[in-house]
Protein backbone atom coordinates (compact mmCIF):
# COMPACT_ATOMS: atom_id res chain seq x y z
CA UNK A 1 0.00 0.00 0.00
CA UNK A 2 1.48 3.39 -0.87
CA UNK A 3 2.26 5.68 2.06
CA UNK A 4 0.10 8.80 2.51
CA UNK A 5 1.47 12.02 1.10
CA UNK A 6 1.79 13.44 4.64
CA UNK A 7 4.61 10.93 5.23
CA UNK A 8 6.59 12.27 2.31
CA UNK A 9 10.04 13.40 3.36
CA UNK A 10 11.65 15.88 0.98
CA UNK A 11 15.05 14.57 -0.04
CA UNK A 12 16.40 18.06 0.41
CA UNK A 13 16.00 17.53 4.17
CA UNK A 14 17.76 14.18 4.22
CA UNK A 15 21.23 15.44 3.33
CA UNK A 16 23.24 18.55 3.99
CA UNK A 17 25.32 19.63 6.93
CA UNK A 18 22.51 19.64 9.48
CA UNK A 19 23.67 16.47 11.33
CA UNK A 20 27.19 17.90 11.57
CA UNK A 21 25.83 21.13 13.04
CA UNK A 22 23.73 19.24 15.56
CA UNK A 23 26.72 17.11 16.55
CA UNK A 24 28.90 20.23 16.86
CA UNK A 25 26.30 21.94 19.05
CA UNK A 26 25.94 18.91 21.35
CA UNK A 27 29.74 18.59 21.56
CA UNK A 28 30.06 22.27 22.45
CA UNK A 29 27.38 21.90 25.13
CA UNK A 30 29.02 18.80 26.63
CA UNK A 31 32.45 20.48 26.66
CA UNK A 32 30.97 23.64 28.21
CA UNK A 33 29.48 21.57 31.05
CA UNK A 34 32.86 19.87 31.62
CA UNK A 35 34.64 23.23 31.55
CA UNK A 36 32.28 24.70 34.17
CA UNK A 37 32.72 21.60 36.34
CA UNK A 38 36.53 21.92 36.32
CA UNK A 39 36.53 25.73 36.41
CA UNK A 40 34.73 25.87 39.77
CA UNK A 41 37.64 24.61 41.92
CA UNK A 42 40.20 26.51 39.83
CA UNK A 43 38.27 29.75 40.30
CA UNK A 44 37.85 29.06 44.01
CA UNK A 45 41.60 28.41 44.36
CA UNK A 46 42.34 31.60 42.43
CA UNK A 47 40.18 33.67 44.77
CA UNK A 48 37.45 34.45 42.23
CA UNK A 49 34.72 33.89 44.79
CA UNK A 50 31.69 35.13 42.85
CA UNK A 51 32.55 33.23 39.64
CA UNK A 52 33.32 30.09 41.63
CA UNK A 53 29.99 30.43 43.44
CA UNK A 54 28.15 30.77 40.13
CA UNK A 55 29.89 27.67 38.76
CA UNK A 56 29.03 25.65 41.88
CA UNK A 57 25.44 26.98 41.76
CA UNK A 58 25.11 25.82 38.13
CA UNK A 59 25.60 22.22 39.28
CA UNK A 60 23.93 22.71 42.66
CA UNK A 61 20.53 22.15 41.08
CA UNK A 62 21.44 18.73 39.69
CA UNK A 63 24.03 17.31 42.09
CA UNK A 64 24.38 16.95 45.88
CA UNK A 65 28.02 18.23 45.62
CA UNK A 66 29.13 16.42 48.81
CA UNK A 67 32.89 17.13 49.11
CA UNK A 68 33.57 13.62 50.52
CA UNK A 69 32.02 12.13 47.37
CA UNK A 70 33.78 14.43 44.90
CA UNK A 71 37.17 14.61 43.20
CA UNK A 72 39.29 17.54 44.35
CA UNK A 73 41.39 19.96 42.35
CA UNK A 74 43.81 22.37 44.11
CA UNK A 75 42.14 21.58 47.40
CA UNK A 76 38.61 22.34 46.24
CA UNK A 77 35.94 19.84 45.16
CA UNK A 78 34.80 19.70 41.53
CA UNK A 79 31.40 21.28 40.95
CA UNK A 80 29.79 17.83 40.62
CA UNK A 81 30.23 14.61 42.59
CA UNK A 82 32.38 11.73 41.29
CA UNK A 83 29.41 9.88 39.73
CA UNK A 84 28.09 13.00 37.97
CA UNK A 85 31.63 13.95 36.89
CA UNK A 86 32.01 10.52 35.30
CA UNK A 87 28.60 10.81 33.68
CA UNK A 88 29.34 14.20 32.10
CA UNK A 89 32.89 13.23 31.09
CA UNK A 90 31.61 9.96 29.58
CA UNK A 91 28.86 11.82 27.74
CA UNK A 92 31.35 14.33 26.33
CA UNK A 93 33.68 11.50 25.23
CA UNK A 94 30.73 9.61 23.72
CA UNK A 95 29.58 12.65 21.75
CA UNK A 96 33.09 13.51 20.53
CA UNK A 97 33.77 9.91 19.40
CA UNK A 98 30.25 9.44 18.00
CA UNK A 99 31.25 10.02 14.34
CA UNK A 100 33.71 7.11 14.62
CA UNK A 101 30.95 4.75 15.74
CA UNK A 102 27.95 5.79 13.63
CA UNK A 103 27.17 8.02 10.65
CA UNK A 104 26.24 11.54 11.77
CA UNK A 105 23.05 11.47 9.71
CA UNK A 106 21.72 8.31 11.44
CA UNK A 107 18.34 9.02 13.02
CA UNK A 108 17.59 5.64 14.54
CA UNK A 109 18.80 4.82 18.05
CA UNK A 110 20.42 1.53 19.12
CA UNK A 111 18.23 -1.12 20.77
CA UNK A 112 17.08 -0.09 24.24
CA UNK A 113 18.81 -3.14 25.76
CA UNK A 114 22.17 -1.36 25.41
CA UNK A 115 20.88 1.54 27.50
CA UNK A 116 19.70 -0.80 30.25
CA UNK A 117 22.99 -2.72 30.09
CA UNK A 118 24.95 0.54 30.43
CA UNK A 119 22.79 1.69 33.35
CA UNK A 120 23.12 -1.64 35.20
CA UNK A 121 26.66 -1.07 36.64
CA UNK A 122 25.66 2.39 37.95
CA UNK A 123 22.46 1.00 39.46
CA UNK A 124 24.37 -1.91 40.99
CA UNK A 125 27.14 0.31 42.38
CA UNK A 126 24.56 2.70 43.85
CA UNK A 127 22.24 0.05 45.33
CA UNK A 128 24.97 -2.14 46.78
CA UNK A 129 26.51 0.97 48.36
CA UNK A 130 23.11 2.01 49.76
CA UNK A 131 22.51 -1.46 51.22
CA UNK A 132 25.99 -1.54 52.74
CA UNK A 133 27.03 -4.63 50.77
CA UNK A 134 29.72 -2.82 48.82
CA UNK A 135 31.70 0.27 49.73
CA UNK A 136 31.78 2.20 46.47
CA UNK A 137 34.75 4.42 45.72
CA UNK A 138 35.36 7.56 43.66
CA UNK A 139 36.72 5.31 40.93
CA UNK A 140 33.74 2.90 40.85
CA UNK A 141 31.26 5.77 40.90
CA UNK A 142 32.98 7.73 38.15
CA UNK A 143 33.70 4.73 35.89
CA UNK A 144 30.15 3.36 36.05
CA UNK A 145 28.81 6.88 35.48
CA UNK A 146 31.16 7.36 32.51
CA UNK A 147 29.90 4.16 30.88
CA UNK A 148 26.28 5.31 31.22
CA UNK A 149 27.13 8.79 29.92
CA UNK A 150 29.02 7.46 26.90
CA UNK A 151 26.18 5.11 25.91
CA UNK A 152 23.58 7.85 26.51
CA UNK A 153 25.34 9.89 23.80
CA UNK A 154 24.40 7.19 21.26
CA UNK A 155 20.73 7.95 22.01
CA UNK A 156 20.90 11.70 22.44
CA UNK A 157 22.76 12.63 19.23
CA UNK A 158 20.51 10.73 16.74
CA UNK A 159 17.44 11.92 18.66
CA UNK A 160 18.47 15.55 18.32
CA UNK A 161 19.39 15.02 14.65
CA UNK A 162 15.89 13.60 14.13
CA UNK A 163 14.41 16.55 16.04
CA UNK A 164 16.25 18.98 13.77
CA UNK A 165 14.82 17.20 10.72
CA UNK A 166 11.33 17.33 12.24
CA UNK A 167 11.67 21.08 12.73
CA UNK A 168 12.90 21.52 9.15
CA UNK A 169 10.12 19.31 7.77
CA UNK A 170 7.50 21.39 9.57
CA UNK A 171 8.97 24.56 8.10
CA UNK A 172 8.86 22.91 4.67
CA UNK A 173 5.18 21.96 5.12
CA UNK A 174 4.24 25.43 6.35
CA UNK A 175 6.01 26.88 3.32
CA UNK A 176 4.21 24.45 1.00
CA UNK A 177 0.81 25.30 2.52
CA UNK A 178 1.54 29.01 2.18
CA UNK A 179 2.47 28.65 -1.50
CA UNK A 180 -0.69 26.57 -2.19
CA UNK A 181 -2.91 29.35 -0.84
Amino acid sequence: MPAPISNYVPQLAAGGRRPAWVWAAVSAGALFILAVMFAAPLLAAGGYVFSARAAYAFFGAVCHQMPERSFHLLGHPLAACARCAGLYAGFAAGVLLYPLARPLGARHVPARGWLFAAAAPTALDFSLGLLGVWENTHLSRSLTGALLGAVAALYVVPGLVDLSYAARLRAFRVGAHASEQ
Binding site: V62, A152, Y155
Partner: protein, 186 residues
Protein backbone atom coordinates in the same frame (compact mmCIF):
# COMPACT_ATOMS: atom_id res chain seq x y z
CA UNK B 1 -5.08 21.08 20.98
CA UNK B 2 -2.00 19.60 19.33
CA UNK B 3 -1.67 15.83 19.99
CA UNK B 4 1.69 16.51 21.65
CA UNK B 5 0.32 19.11 24.05
CA UNK B 6 -1.73 16.86 26.36
CA UNK B 7 1.11 14.47 27.27
CA UNK B 8 3.52 17.42 27.47
CA UNK B 9 1.23 19.30 29.88
CA UNK B 10 0.83 16.23 32.12
CA UNK B 11 4.57 15.48 32.08
CA UNK B 12 5.35 19.18 32.64
CA UNK B 13 2.98 19.53 35.59
CA UNK B 14 4.42 16.38 37.20
CA UNK B 15 8.04 17.51 36.80
CA UNK B 16 7.30 21.14 37.69
CA UNK B 17 5.34 20.37 40.87
CA UNK B 18 7.75 17.68 42.06
CA UNK B 19 10.72 20.01 41.39
CA UNK B 20 9.00 22.83 43.31
CA UNK B 21 8.03 21.02 46.53
CA UNK B 22 10.78 21.49 49.14
CA UNK B 23 12.56 18.27 50.20
CA UNK B 24 10.77 16.28 47.43
CA UNK B 25 12.80 18.32 44.94
CA UNK B 26 16.02 16.92 46.44
CA UNK B 27 15.55 13.96 44.07
CA UNK B 28 16.64 16.41 41.36
CA UNK B 29 20.13 16.27 42.85
CA UNK B 30 20.42 12.92 41.11
CA UNK B 31 20.89 14.26 37.54
CA UNK B 32 17.64 16.24 37.59
CA UNK B 33 15.72 12.98 38.05
CA UNK B 34 12.25 14.59 38.20
CA UNK B 35 12.90 16.32 34.88
CA UNK B 36 13.95 13.03 33.28
CA UNK B 37 10.88 11.31 34.81
CA UNK B 38 8.61 14.06 33.43
CA UNK B 39 10.14 13.76 29.96
CA UNK B 40 9.89 9.96 29.99
CA UNK B 41 6.26 10.17 31.20
CA UNK B 42 5.33 12.65 28.45
CA UNK B 43 7.01 10.50 25.78
CA UNK B 44 5.30 7.36 27.10
CA UNK B 45 1.85 8.98 27.01
CA UNK B 46 2.47 10.37 23.53
CA UNK B 47 3.56 6.94 22.25
CA UNK B 48 0.46 5.29 23.76
CA UNK B 49 -1.88 7.80 22.09
CA UNK B 50 -0.11 7.82 18.73
CA UNK B 51 -1.45 5.59 15.96
CA UNK B 52 1.82 5.69 14.02
CA UNK B 53 5.33 4.91 15.32
CA UNK B 54 6.91 7.84 17.16
CA UNK B 55 10.41 8.97 16.20
CA UNK B 56 13.03 9.99 18.76
CA UNK B 57 12.78 13.54 17.45
CA UNK B 58 9.08 13.62 18.30
CA UNK B 59 9.88 12.21 21.75
CA UNK B 60 12.50 14.91 22.28
CA UNK B 61 9.99 17.55 21.22
CA UNK B 62 7.34 16.32 23.68
CA UNK B 63 9.99 16.17 26.42
CA UNK B 64 11.17 19.70 25.64
CA UNK B 65 7.61 21.09 25.75
CA UNK B 66 7.06 19.27 29.06
CA UNK B 67 10.33 20.79 30.30
CA UNK B 68 9.24 24.33 29.38
CA UNK B 69 5.87 23.87 31.12
CA UNK B 70 7.60 22.35 34.15
CA UNK B 71 10.17 25.15 34.23
CA UNK B 72 7.43 27.81 34.32
CA UNK B 73 5.65 25.98 37.18
CA UNK B 74 8.99 25.61 38.99
CA UNK B 75 9.71 29.34 38.69
CA UNK B 76 6.23 30.37 39.86
CA UNK B 77 5.90 27.82 42.68
CA UNK B 78 9.38 26.57 43.51
CA UNK B 79 11.30 29.83 43.96
CA UNK B 80 8.98 31.39 46.61
CA UNK B 81 8.41 27.99 48.25
CA UNK B 82 12.19 27.49 48.45
CA UNK B 83 12.68 30.79 50.30
CA UNK B 84 9.80 30.08 52.71
CA UNK B 85 11.06 26.52 53.31
CA UNK B 86 14.56 27.87 53.98
CA UNK B 87 13.19 30.14 56.70
CA UNK B 88 11.06 27.31 58.16
CA UNK B 89 14.08 25.02 58.14
CA UNK B 90 16.05 27.67 60.06
CA UNK B 91 13.53 27.68 62.93
CA UNK B 92 13.26 23.87 63.03
CA UNK B 93 17.06 23.50 63.00
CA UNK B 94 17.57 25.98 65.83
CA UNK B 95 14.92 24.11 67.85
CA UNK B 96 16.72 20.82 67.15
CA UNK B 97 20.10 22.26 68.20
CA UNK B 98 18.58 23.58 71.44
CA UNK B 99 17.32 20.09 72.29
CA UNK B 100 20.49 18.26 71.29
CA UNK B 101 23.31 20.59 72.42
CA UNK B 102 24.37 22.13 75.73
CA UNK B 103 22.63 25.54 76.17
CA UNK B 104 25.72 27.73 75.66
CA UNK B 105 26.82 25.80 72.55
CA UNK B 106 23.27 25.91 71.12
CA UNK B 107 23.13 29.65 71.77
CA UNK B 108 26.41 30.11 69.87
CA UNK B 109 25.14 28.09 66.90
CA UNK B 110 21.86 30.01 66.96
CA UNK B 111 23.74 33.34 67.02
CA UNK B 112 25.83 32.32 64.01
CA UNK B 113 22.78 31.13 62.07
CA UNK B 114 20.90 34.34 62.87
CA UNK B 115 23.86 36.37 61.62
CA UNK B 116 23.90 34.32 58.42
CA UNK B 117 20.16 34.79 57.95
CA UNK B 118 20.41 38.52 58.66
CA UNK B 119 23.08 38.75 55.95
CA UNK B 120 20.74 37.00 53.52
CA UNK B 121 17.86 39.34 54.40
CA UNK B 122 14.12 38.73 54.25
CA UNK B 123 11.89 37.26 51.57
CA UNK B 124 12.13 40.29 49.26
CA UNK B 125 15.92 40.55 49.68
CA UNK B 126 16.42 36.89 48.82
CA UNK B 127 14.08 36.98 45.80
CA UNK B 128 16.52 38.33 43.11
CA UNK B 129 19.23 35.80 43.96
CA UNK B 130 16.67 32.98 44.24
CA UNK B 131 15.25 33.98 40.84
CA UNK B 132 18.71 33.93 39.26
CA UNK B 133 19.43 30.43 40.58
CA UNK B 134 15.83 29.48 39.70
CA UNK B 135 16.44 30.49 36.07
CA UNK B 136 19.54 28.26 35.92
CA UNK B 137 17.45 25.43 37.38
CA UNK B 138 14.65 26.09 34.88
CA UNK B 139 17.06 25.84 31.92
CA UNK B 140 18.43 22.58 33.29
CA UNK B 141 14.88 21.24 33.69
CA UNK B 142 14.21 21.84 29.98
CA UNK B 143 17.51 20.19 28.94
CA UNK B 144 17.01 17.10 31.11
CA UNK B 145 13.31 16.77 30.21
CA UNK B 146 14.34 16.73 26.53
CA UNK B 147 16.83 13.96 27.31
CA UNK B 148 14.02 12.19 29.20
CA UNK B 149 11.79 12.42 26.13
CA UNK B 150 14.55 10.92 23.98
CA UNK B 151 15.20 8.09 26.42
CA UNK B 152 11.47 7.49 26.90
CA UNK B 153 11.00 7.05 23.15
CA UNK B 154 13.97 4.68 22.96
CA UNK B 155 12.50 2.63 25.82
CA UNK B 156 8.76 2.60 25.06
CA UNK B 157 8.47 2.78 21.24
CA UNK B 158 8.43 -0.86 20.24
CA UNK B 159 6.70 -0.51 16.85
CA UNK B 160 8.78 -0.73 13.71
CA UNK B 161 8.91 2.06 11.17
CA UNK B 162 9.47 5.21 13.22
CA UNK B 163 10.64 8.16 11.11
CA UNK B 164 14.22 7.68 12.23
CA UNK B 165 14.29 3.90 11.77
CA UNK B 166 16.52 2.43 9.07
CA UNK B 167 14.66 1.60 5.81
CA UNK B 168 13.65 -2.05 5.28
CA UNK B 169 15.68 -4.06 2.77
CA UNK B 170 14.31 -4.08 -0.80
CA UNK B 171 12.17 -7.07 -1.89
CA UNK B 172 14.03 -9.93 -3.62
CA UNK B 173 12.80 -9.02 -7.14
CA UNK B 174 13.34 -5.27 -6.66
CA UNK B 175 14.34 -3.67 -9.96
CA UNK B 176 13.15 -6.61 -12.12
CA UNK B 177 14.81 -9.93 -12.86
CA UNK B 178 18.59 -10.20 -12.86
CA UNK B 179 20.07 -9.18 -16.19
CA UNK B 180 17.00 -7.11 -17.12
CA UNK B 181 14.44 -7.76 -19.85
CA UNK B 182 16.19 -5.99 -22.72
CA UNK B 183 15.92 -8.08 -25.85
CA UNK B 184 13.57 -10.62 -24.25
CA UNK B 185 10.89 -9.92 -26.90
CA UNK B 186 13.09 -10.78 -29.90
Amino acid sequence: MNDKMKPAIIGGVVLGVLSAIPFVNMVNMCCCAWAIVGGVLAANMYIKNSTSPVSTGDGAQVGAIAGVIGAVIYLILGVPLGIVAGQAMFSSMTGMFERMMPPEQAAEVRRQMEMQQAAQGGFIDQLPQALMFGLIGAILLVVFATVGGLIGTAIFEKRKGAAGAPPPPPPPNFGGPAGGTYGAGS
